[in-house]
Structure formats: C-alpha cells, structure tokens
C-alpha cells in the first residue's frame, strides 16, 4: 500500500467583503426555504385573523399577505443563525465530531488522514492530536511486515 506524506491543511480563506453580500442573500433564501412550512401557514392565519377583526375583501387579503410576509421574513432572518453545520442539528454534529476526534487519535493512512482533515475543516473542528510522523512510520512497518 502506498503511503504518502501528509500535508498540513491550510486555514480556509475569509471571503472578501464583496462576496459577503451574495452569501448573505443566499443564506436569507435558505432561511426562507427552511421556514416555508410555517411561513405559509402564518400568512393564512394572518389573513383569517385580519378578516375576523373587521377588514373586508381584497384589503384583508393584501393586509394578510403583508403581515404574514413580514413574519415569515423575520423567521427566515432568525433561521439564518441556525444554518451552519454546528447549529442546524447539534446532536448529529456532536456525534460526528466525537467520532472524528476519536478516529484522529489513531494512526491513519495518508490519504485517509487528508480526507479526515478535510472533513474536520468542513465540520469546523480542529483536530489537535492527529497521528505523528513516528506513528506513520510504525504503521508503514506494520503493514509491510505484519506480525505473525
């Protein structure tokens, strides 16, 4: 098996200021999509409530759309805080990071270690104790001369 030297992964570069606006817009769109099931219900509730309160016809519908739309937008903006991988589903993120950290303490083949680093970076985890060069050498020796 070919075991290659491991390169330290670089920190992800911060997005330039001009690129932040599309990211924010994309996050807002995601927030609106995620809150769509509740948002569409809120519009119905708002329209019905406005009609019951005494506004008639098209005015009730338009007012319901505006009020419901504003509430939906607010929910979408609030949801943008929960879109990162560590906040969208905390329990799964925790489970994944625990497994990653446990795996990083054991020696790994170079290709697997690179993948581990890449995954850790995507999940926002810093792996402190990844197998050292000495462990790599031990692993290579072990693979070339397995104990009988």
């Amino acid at each position: 098996m070919e075991i290659e030297p491991v390169a330290e992964p670089a920190e992800p570069p911060a997005p330039p200021p001009a690129a932040r606006e599309p990211i924010r817009r994309s996050n807002l769109m995601t927030g609106l999509i995620v809150t769509a099931p509740v948002g569409t219900l809120v519009i119905s509730v708002a329209t019905g409530a406005i009609f019951i309160l005494g506004v008639d016809g098209v005015r009730a519908i338009v007012a319901g759309l505006i009020v419901g739309g504003i509430v939906w937008l607010a929910m979408g903006v609030a949801a943008t805080s929960f879109l990162q991988c560590d906040r969208a589903n905390r329990s799964i993120h925790k489970e994944l990071t625990t497994r990653l950290e446990a795996m990083s303490t054991d020696p790994l083949p170079a290709a697997a270690e690179r993948q581990l680093y890449a995954l850790a970076q995507e999940l926002g985890v810093s792996l402190s104790s990844v197998g050292s060069d000495e462990e790599h050498r031990r692993l290579i020796t072990q693979l070339q001369n397995p104990p009988r």
Partner: protein
Amino acid sequence: MTNSLEWALGYGYVRSWERLHRIEEEKLFAAPPDELIAEAARDTLRLQGSNIDNRDQLLEQLQRATSVLASSSGVSAGVISAPASALAGLVPPFHSGDDAVARRLIRQVRHAINEYRDDRRLALVRARNQLLRTIVLTALVTYQLVVLAILAGAPRPAFISAVAFFLIGATVGLFNRLYLDASTETAVEDYGLAASRLLHTPVLCGLAALGGALIVPLLSAQINPTIDDNAATVAASSLAAIFDITQRPFTLVLAAVFGLTPSALISRLQSEAEKYKSDLKSSETPAVR
C-alpha cells in the same frame, strides 16, 4: 444546493457520515491484525442483530476472513467460532496474499454495514424533506380556501365557525399524535422527521375536520327522507347555515370525529420512519462488546 441549505435540509450530515465511513474503512484496512480481528468480531455482532438483506453471506465472509487472519497472526482469543460451512476449504498455512484478501473482505463487510446505515439515514432525511414540501403545499391550499371564503363574501360568523371546526380537528389530531408517539423509538436520531410530522398533523386534521363538517350535513340533507323537503333544500343550499355553530352545535362533534380520519395516513408515515429507525438501531454497535 448551497452549503447552508445542505445542512438545514440534513443532506450535509448524511454526506459527512458517508465520508467518515470511507475514512473508517481505510483505517480498518490498514489496522494491525489484533485490532482487525476485534473489529471483525464487533461487525459480527452488529450483523447478527441487523435486518441487512444479505446478512448471512456477509457473516460467512467475515468469519472466513477472521479465521485466516487469526490463523496467520497466531491469535485465538476473541475470534468468534465460524460454522463448519464457513471454514470449508480453509486449510492453513496461509500465504501473505491470503492476509490481504482477508483484510479486503473485512473492509467490504464494514462497507456494506456502513452503506446500509447511510441509506437509512438518507431515507429519513428524504422522508422529512418530502413531508416539509407536503406541508407547504397543504398550507397553500388552506390559504386559497381562506382567500376564496373572503372574496366570496362569507359572513364573519360563518368564517369564525369554520375556523373553530379547523381548530377542533387540529386539536383532536394532536391528541391522537400524542397517543401514536407513545410507541415511537426516541433513542435514534430521526433528522427532524418527528418534528415535521408534528407540524403536518394539525394542518391535515384541521382540513379533514372542515371537510367533514361541510360534507356530512350536505349529504344528510340530500339522503334523509324524513327531513322536510323545504328545510333540507334551504340547509343544503346555504353554506352559512351549515357553518353556524349556534344553530348546529353537533357539527363540532363531527369536526372532532373527522379530525381523526388522517390518523391512518399519519400512522403509515410514522411506521415507515420507525422501520428506518429500527434498521439503524439494529445495525448499531452493540453495547456489550
């Protein structure tokens, strides 16, 4: 799909599990024989309790590979004894090539278990996202009903009655949901499927209650010959009369009964999800190793 949407919809986590599993399989392939045998024993226990389709073949494959590894590395403790059929044709001494084949076989079995679990996770995520889309569509239909009632000039008391029927159906549906939830498996992560079902229940049950409260009086007026013809015609033609709870308080009971009708659909959705969760649970690493 943007990265944040992937996390929010749950696909990102499934993809991360898949990547983590590929790393784990690489690590397993390169592990020392003692660790490999221990991991194979663990996979044997996982397979024995699982619902994986080709479980028996995988178990046999695992046992053959473990026997070769154990024999070539001189290990005997912790090796699960293989049935005679699994060991047929295996005669030591083994060659170095056999060792590599055994490692590959163990990795393949781990890959099969991981793939099975990842498929179940993906199924849960897909079911949840499908349900969320259904909720959006159902909510849009509800909105159209509200708009139609307003534009058609529905009297306000009738509109309030319709809202009351909807709410009664939603409440009854949620109570029924509590009953169904008593039998659910909560130890396995369901990627938000239960929460989506909880949101789906009041909308669906409310609409069913509203439909029931409308259809039953209309039908009874048409098919019951004992009712005065004139009164029946008036009742059937006037939606305002049907949606008047002061005149027809019994319609509230009808709404409650019809609020329970989507329970068959909801329990079917639930049983599908429970199957995926039980598959995940059955192929988990056993507590006692």
